[in-house]
Amino acid sequence: MIKQVIQYCKGHVRIRVSGGSYDRFLNMCAKHDLYIWDLEYADNAYEMNISIKGFRILRPLARKSHTKVRIIGRYGLPFFVFRYRKRKMLFAGIISGAILMVFLSGFIWDININGNQTLTTDVIINYLESENIIHGMPKASVDCKGLAADLRQQFNDLIWVSVRIEGTRLLIDMQENTDLKLDDKIDYGPSDLVSNVEGTVVKIITRSGVPMVKAGDEVKKDDLLVSGQIEIINDSGEVAGYQYCAADADIYVKTRYLYSQTFSMNYNVKEYSGQLKRGYYLNIFGKKISLIRKKVPFETYDVTTIEQQAKLGDNFYLPVSWGSVDYKEYELIQKTYSKNAAEKRSEDTLNKFLEKIQEKGVQIFENNVKIESDGKTCKASGEVIVIEKVGKRVERNTENEYHRVDSGDSGGT
């Protein structure tokens, strides 16, 4: 490849040698160290390629060997330049193109992010933008090492980041910590657990703290369930002081929830007529230009827009987008549910709701929802009794109590 480019730059001619003693001619060429290639015998003559420099010293050789030399082809850059020597703008264009290319290659035109799994590329690009790393910035102002360090600091999950510039591309390779994090127990300060629902305690397992309720107790909202204050009792059975801990327990409470859902027996259905109008538009720097402006001849219609944004590389979005708008005609038709269909729909909704709360770990104990329907509406109402894990952590302010206990102690002694 490089050899061909050099050959093109130097230029060569194809000559035709005829008459006389060609063998002498060839041997003399070899003696004078002329490089000859693609030598071919054709019609009692010899055709060969020779460099321009070699051709210049060919004349005496041809005379000595009584051969006739004729040029049959000129190839290469020197001939090209000569042929187009009067077209000044062509050369100006070539030179300015080359200068522009060199100039533009001093900027970042593509930011490529590799190896991110949970972090989305958008998040990283946004962060880079906030750090003034954007498409079209000069290459020289990118501090690769600093950027890698910043990324590691910004995103804790990254265990390895490499930033490098390749040509006009900024390549960011990263490795995320994919090992599952051990569920770190958050260290709570002294705190109690209070109820956040109303109901009956079904089961209570206390890991730390003093349980204030037992299975079968009724609890109200904000009732203390587990206390983080542990009494210290001295030998005589008196409270000598308190120790504080973060209350921790699994408390299951049976609670009731009201469920109610009503919908009309009448409903509207879109019936598409199959009529469709399509328009196109161009969006340049936030300005929308409709390419085909048509008045929409429908009364009621759906609008679907598909937009595509121009981009360079993977992540460099240009402020130019285009798209099509479809107007689809429809007619609203009123329909009425039959009794069965309405009840079925109501039941489906209820089941979906129950499934959803079960996914959260709530156990359904009883389901007393009744579905009724008259001519106009379908109504589902009733209560659902569930067993759920409850408990809301409330910080305990121990400062005052410590003092109180301390003073009580000192008073006693």
């Binding site: 063998d23 041997n27 070899a30 000859i36 693609d38 030598l39």
Partner: protein, 91 residues
Amino acid sequence: MSSKSKSIYQKLSSSAQIPKDLSDGAVLVSLVGQEEVCIENYKGIIEYTSARIMLQTKNCKLEILGKHLYISYYTCEEMKVTGHIEQINYL
């Protein structure tokens, strides 16, 4: 005398393990399949047509017979011939 001195020269060069192409000016012919032959250490071209190439070497003449013979490049040291090669004769 000359044949004796030659043999001494040959003995000397062979015992010194000097390659034959250097000591005797022997022609080097390397063939690649039937389509390509590379020749070094020759004196000049005697004849060239698309069916026959005759080369002068120091000790003998080398004749290459074939079809569509084509000289890819040609310098005073080395030449490469491509085409359909049928025979190579030392004359």
